[in-house]
């Protein structure tokens, strides 16, 4: 289990750097001490094994300490995006049954406990089947649905990832994507702690700072989304930066196009490898081909110990990392895919209506229900459009007796910035099929407001 692994690293290599965040270079021995102290602080404030505690801490040392502190205690970490608004935080906490919120303003208060105190005594280590992580995936009703993972499921996922790419304690992972989402959490944070490597925390994506961090910290593993890779490749640096330390330039969370792959190779000298996973399973496939260019559109083959099959055109997985499975042991992902004769998986889209924008999942139904709750709105539908770069973006079509400006203002207080539609169009009506599904092509634009 992760906490025991981190404890072992602290015992064997106490001075090895676990976290880098600005000027803060935290060693493994300090990380374990901080996590233990937080666990005792939480007990003192009435949190017990099995309780759920929400974290809204961004990519900070406090986030990693809180994850480990809750792992030690046997409590559940409910991971909330730091852009969520108050009402979204409250809804998420209610659906996960979380009683407390650890945010940047309450963290030090919770962790406040006499440095040398051994009281209160920590409970025994939680068993492997104890729940540890709670993340959110968008359900069909629009309300984000909590997905709970046990210590054993997480351990399985981390072992599969580590054995696929051969991580060691010399690896340095750059965490520039949100750690509240499965892609960043497993491949930029927990994967590093499992290996005994270093996590470089970058709280808010900054193009030149990201490139400087890679060079300065000799980053070896960098998971990002295709948009970030494209924008990094297009960014001019005042002096050339040395990115040769990166042995695993990873991409996931959205479709990678061949143009982005080639621009990144030509300008950054890196050959991107696609990986694929879901919130329920973590990473399940990765492109490990020697000649990546010839298979760059594939997300690769199943990782060790994981089975993937195509069932009626959609991807099914059998993995010890899965939070849920049907009676036959398989988890149906809802992603549409195909597999070539040598087991390489190609993703073609989603059967369910989930939209991925810049590595985050968005459920159109959630945005539609916020729009529809505005009194002047008669109907609302959200579709994905492609911006001129081919990246997905959200467009809302609304039948309403109000202006676009009013709608934007209304949504801003209720939706995180990344869920806000890029374009809002007022329409005379929204044609729907027999199932209620929006027939996007038939929509007649009424006017362009603003």
């Amino acid at each position: 289990m992760i906490f025991q692994e981190v404890e072992r690293h602290a015992r064997e290599r106490p001075d090895a750097v676990a976290l880098v965040s600005g000027a803060d270079r935290r060693r493994y021995c300090a990380l374990v001490a901080d996590a233990n102290r937080l666990a005792r602080g939480l007990i003192e404030r009435g949190i017990h094994p099995g309780d759920a505690v929400a974290l809204q801490l961004g990519n900070t040392p406090a986030f990693v300490i809180a994850l480990l502190g809750l792992a030690r205690l046997g409590a559940v970490a409910v991971l909330l995006d730091d852009e969520l608004k108050k009402s979204e935080v409250e809804a998420a906490m209610a659906s996960a049954g979380a009683r407390r919120l650890l945010a940047s303003d309450t963290f030090s208060e919770m962790a406040a406990i006499d440095r040398d105190s051994q009281v209160p005594v920590l409970p025994p280590m939680p068993p492997p089947h104890a729940p540890w992580l709670c993340q959110f995936t968008s359900g069909t009703t629009g309300a984000p649905t909590p997905v709970v993972r046990t210590h054993a499921q997480v351990a399985f996922a981390l072992e599969a990832f580590a054995s696929a790419i051969g991580t060691t304690d010399r690896d340095c992972f750059l965490a520039a994507i949100p750690l509240t989402h499965g892609y960043g959490l497993f491949n930029a944070c927990l994967g590093a702690l499992h290996a005994g490597g270093t996590i470089v925390l970058h709280p808010r994506f900054d193009r030149r700072e990201t490139l400087r961090l890679i060079a300065r910290e000799r980053v070896t593993v960098f998971p990002a989304v295709p948009f970030m890779w494209a924008i990094l490749a297009e960014t001019r640096m005042p002096t050339p930066v040395d990115l040769s330390s990166v042995r695993w330039p990873l991409t996931g969370g959205a479709r990678l196009d061949a143009r982005t792959w080639r621009v990144v190779r030509d300008r950054l000298g890196l050959q991107l490898r696609q990986m694929y996973g879901t919130t329920e399973t973590s990473v399940i496939a990765m492109n490990l081909d020697t000649d990546v260019e010839s298979t760059l559109e594939s997300v690769g083959r199943a990782l060790p110990g994981i089975e993937i099959a195509i069932e009626n055109g959609t991807v099914a997985v059998r993995s010890g990392s899965a939070s849920r499975a049907d009676a036959d042991g398989w988890t149906r992902t809802g992603d549409v895919g195909r597999m070539d004769e040598s087991g390489r998986l190609f993703l073609l889209g989603r059967a369910t209506e989930i939209v991925r924008v810049a590595g985050r999942t968005i459920n159109p139904a959630e945005i539609e229900s916020v729009l529809a709750s505005y009194p002047a709105v008669r109907d609302a539908a959200v579709i994905t459009i492609r911006d001129p770069h081919g990246e997905p973006a959200i467009k809302a079509m609304v039948v309403a007796e109000c202006t676009v400006g009013e709608l934007v203002e209304f949504c801003q207080g209720r939706l995180a910035a990344y869920k806000m539609p890029r374009v809002i169009d007022l329409c005379a009506s929204i044609p729907r099929g027999r199932t209620g599904k929006v027939l996007a092509r038939d929509i007649v634009p009424l006017s362009i407001d603003d």
């Binding site: 924008i231 960014t235 911006d387 001129p388 801003q412 910035a417 374009v423 603003d450």
Partner: protein, 93 residues
Amino acid sequence: MNLTIDDVRRRLTNVLVTRVVRMDPKALSPETPLIKTGLNLDSVALLEFVVGIEDEFGITLDDAALTADRFRSLGTLAKYVHDIASAPAARPA
């Protein structure tokens, strides 16, 4: 040659409609809000815009300096870009 704010705004509009949003440039005015209301560009779109601006003017814009105030409208952005592009250091050698 002196770069005027109007030149900057015209070139910014061109970057915006060719690289970020597909729309008729005539629908954009100096006062059109870029973020929060109006075009409501998200962080992805803003970065695409910024990379385009750097290429167009041959300047460097720090991500940390890209504040909501500067991106309020094409007018406020044009003033900011004009200041940077007119600074002696930004001129090509």
